[in-house]
């Protein structure tokens, strides 16, 4: 779950990480009032996109009048289809240098990873490999001072700035660990006459750990249908084609989509209803797909922990209760396969043995 900048900064502040003084506002007038209070300010759209700056979502102003004008302009902008609901109005800080600092998870090392560079700012992705220091942190001991000093040495940082980092980084690490963050990114990390200040905050919390953080607000970037799917604990993404696809397992669902495209079809969605779903969940997954009114329904089941008879019974239940009018291509093999086929055959529904056949059949049905 991505957090808005102001929420990330709240978490930072709670861990003792310096952030600029600021106010969260929802209207143009409030933006003016905040500027009147804070003096020279920067106004920042609170949207969940990385390209906010380049898209004009950030403005520096020196008086309340300008603040209102710029706030109004930003409220009217679209960022990848997103609009601004809140603005963060912050005191302008005196930036001597823009650095980059992030903590994330290194899947290859199976450890927290520090990324640090003296070349922060808008184009950090372009920084040369040797100017971006990576340090996987041994999580049995956590981020120790020597690690910070060594990261600094590799960055070419010494003296008082190194001392600043020795104070700063362990706080970010603590926040990263305690909040179950997948990402805690500060870009730019501003070097000011008062030391290091987090001028921005990109924090992502691990969805699977949200239950441990009831105090966090719940934020979503999903469509209404995707939200419905989330409620049902289904992995669902809208894609825009006409063949609705339902499969069990992320890998095979992706492979099914790949195969649909391979044979010239156009998938309507990604829907992985997971392993071991019971009849209710399977029923709900089917109903959700039917509600999107696709041309063809492609079901690809290779039952492992998923039981074929449960899928078949769910299908029959939906057919009986709501009716299934559109053409269906149904592939069903694996655990309790014969029981599942028996259920479907009673209803006159044919199944395929092979994924290849089922996909080609589905694509054929759209022709």
């Amino acid at each position: 779950m991505k957090l808005y900048e102001h929420m990330g900064k709240e978490l930072f502040a709670r861990c003792g990480i310096p952030v600029p003084r600021g106010k969260l506002v929802e209207t143009v007038d409030q933006a003016g009032e905040a500027a009147a209070e804070l003096g020279e300010v920067v106004i920042k759209s609170q949207v969940l996109t990385g390209k906010r700056g380049k898209a004009g979502g950030i403005a520096f102003v020196s008086n309340p009048g300008e603040a209102k004008k710029e706030a109004a302009r930003i409220f009217d902008l679209k960022f990848d289809g997103l609009t601004t609901e809140k603005l963060l109005v912050e005191e302008k800080i005196q930036i001597e240098q823009e650095l980059y600092l992030a903590l994330t998870i290194d899947g290859a090392a199976r450890r927290p990873l520090v990324l640090a560079s003296l070349d922060g700012g808008m184009d950090v992705e372009e920084v040369a490999e040797e100017r971006m220091i990576r340090w996987p942190v041994d999580n049995t001991i956590g981020l120790q001072d020597y690690m910070v000093r060594e990261i600094c040495r590799r960055m070419g940082v010494t003296g008082s700035l190194q001392k600043e980092f020795v104070k700063f980084m362990p706080k970010l690490y603590r926040m990263f660990r305690e909040m179950d963050a997948e990402l805690a990114e500060i870009n730019p990390l501003a070097l000011t006459p008062d030391g290091l200040i987090a001028a921005d905050a990109k924090v992502t919390i691990d969805d699977d750990a949200l239950y441990r953080h009831p105090q966090l607000p719940r934020i979503t970037e999903k469509t209404a249908l995707e939200l419905k799917a989330e409620e049902l604990d289904l992995a669902y993404v809208e894609l825009g084609g006409d063949i609705a696809v339902m499969a069990n397992g992320a890998g095979i669902t992706m492979a099914t989509l790949d195969m649909v495209q391979h044979y010239g079809g156009d998938p309507a969605n990604f829907l992985d209803f997971g392993g071991g779903a019971d009849i209710d969940k399977t029923t709900q997954a089917l109903e959700l797909l039917l509600a999107t009114a696709p041309k063809v329904l492609l079901i690809n089941i290779f039952g492992g922990i998923t039981r074929c008879d449960v899928v078949a019974e769910a299908f029959v239940r939906v057919k009986e209760n709501k009716g299934i009018e559109l053409p269906v291509s149904f592939r069903l093999v694996g655990t309790n396969e014969s029981e599942g086929r028996a259920v479907l055959e009673k209803e006159g529904i044919k199944t395929f043995n092979s994924m290849d056949e089922a996909v080609r059949h589905a694509v054929g049905l759209t022709a």
Partner: protein, 291 residues
């Protein structure tokens, strides 16, 4: 020969009294797996599918020595269960649960490293020494002995491909599910090394997907150190670009992680990359015919 497990591997089932735990205990026993005990705090004295249940792994091991453990508990309790198994001295831990918090997974992996133990998963179907022992939730009948080693990031897709092989009369030595999470215990390289060393494995199938850099690392290893032929299939060719993890994601991956980068890396390493899952079996047959 066997990789990681064989017919003598003694297995504990943690979370044996749950719905999944008891179901798959029966399935594993039916396959031939040597399950020596189950663990379910507070359920000591129960018997599940003929298997005695204990309050803790420590208690189980007092009377029933074991080598491996498979965990079926809900994700919030998986870290506790995994650490318990590791401290108790088990050397192979199979983590079935999905949705284990990433920081928990990192803690588990760090402790496993300390204990010189192998963690399979989390979010895996487990692993199987075909015809001898399965520690996992895969449908047993597709896993028949033969000369092919299979390692996969995804579950059902792996069954699909192994099923095709089986239908074509090609069996497997060992099949390992790495698990679909961002932090997992085994990576492709670990398992490829085992396959390269295993005299019974003649050809290797690698089932990957987009995201991360495990396939690129596998390609580097194959290129530098493998003699046995490797056939790959990668899912996600048609997937829209995923939502980025800040700049850090891009910085870490540095252009790796895409379908194209993985196909290129593997192809350059001499791996035959199948277009479709159904194309894997013929490529394997080809490779086996040559060896």
């Amino acid at each position: 020969m066997s990789v990681y497990i064989n017919q003598d591997t003694r297995v504990l089932v943690q979370g044996i009294t749950g719905r999944q735990g008891s179901f798959h205990t029966a399935q594993m026993l039916a396959y031939g797996t040597k399950i020596v005990g189950g663990v379910s705090p507070g359920k000591r004295g129960q018997v599940v599918e003929g298997v005695p249940v204990f309050d803790s792994t420590f208690e189980a091991l007092e009377s029933h020595p074991a080598d491996a453990s498979i965990l079926f508990m809900p994700a919030p309790f998986a870290k506790d269960g995994a650490l318990e198994a590791l401290e108790a001295g088990l050397k192979i831990i199979v983590l079935i649960p999905e949705s284990i918090p990433l920081h928990d997974a990192m803690d588990i992996m760090a402790y496993a490293r300390q204990k010189n133990a192998v963690v399979v998963g989390p979010n895996t179907f487990g692993l199987v020494s075909s015809g001898s022992s399965k520690i996992g939730i895969m449908p047993g009948r597709y896993f028949v002995p033969g000369p092919v080693g299979v390692v996969s990031r995804s579950g059902t897709l792996c069954y699909e491909i192994v099923g095709n092989l089986t239908n074509d009369g090609i069996g497997t030595t060992t099949v390992v599910g790495l698990g679909g999470d961002r932090v997992v215990g085994l990576h492709f390289v670990d398992v490829l090394k085992k396959f390269e060393e295993d005299p019974a494995t003649e050809t290797v199938v690698l089932v990957g997907e987009i995201g991360g850099s495990a396939e690129e690392e596998a390609a580097a290893y194959i290129s530098s150190s493998m003699i046995k032929p490797v056939i790959a299939y990668l899912a996600g060719r048609s997937a829209p670009p995923g939502k980025r993890m800040g700049h850090a994601g891009a910085i870490i991956e540095r252009g790796r992680g895409t379908f194209e980068s993985k196909v290129e890396a593997l192809s350059e390493a001499g791996v035959k990359v199948a277009d479709l899952p159904t194309a894997v079996s013929p490529l394997v047959k080809n490779a086996l015919d040559k060896t």
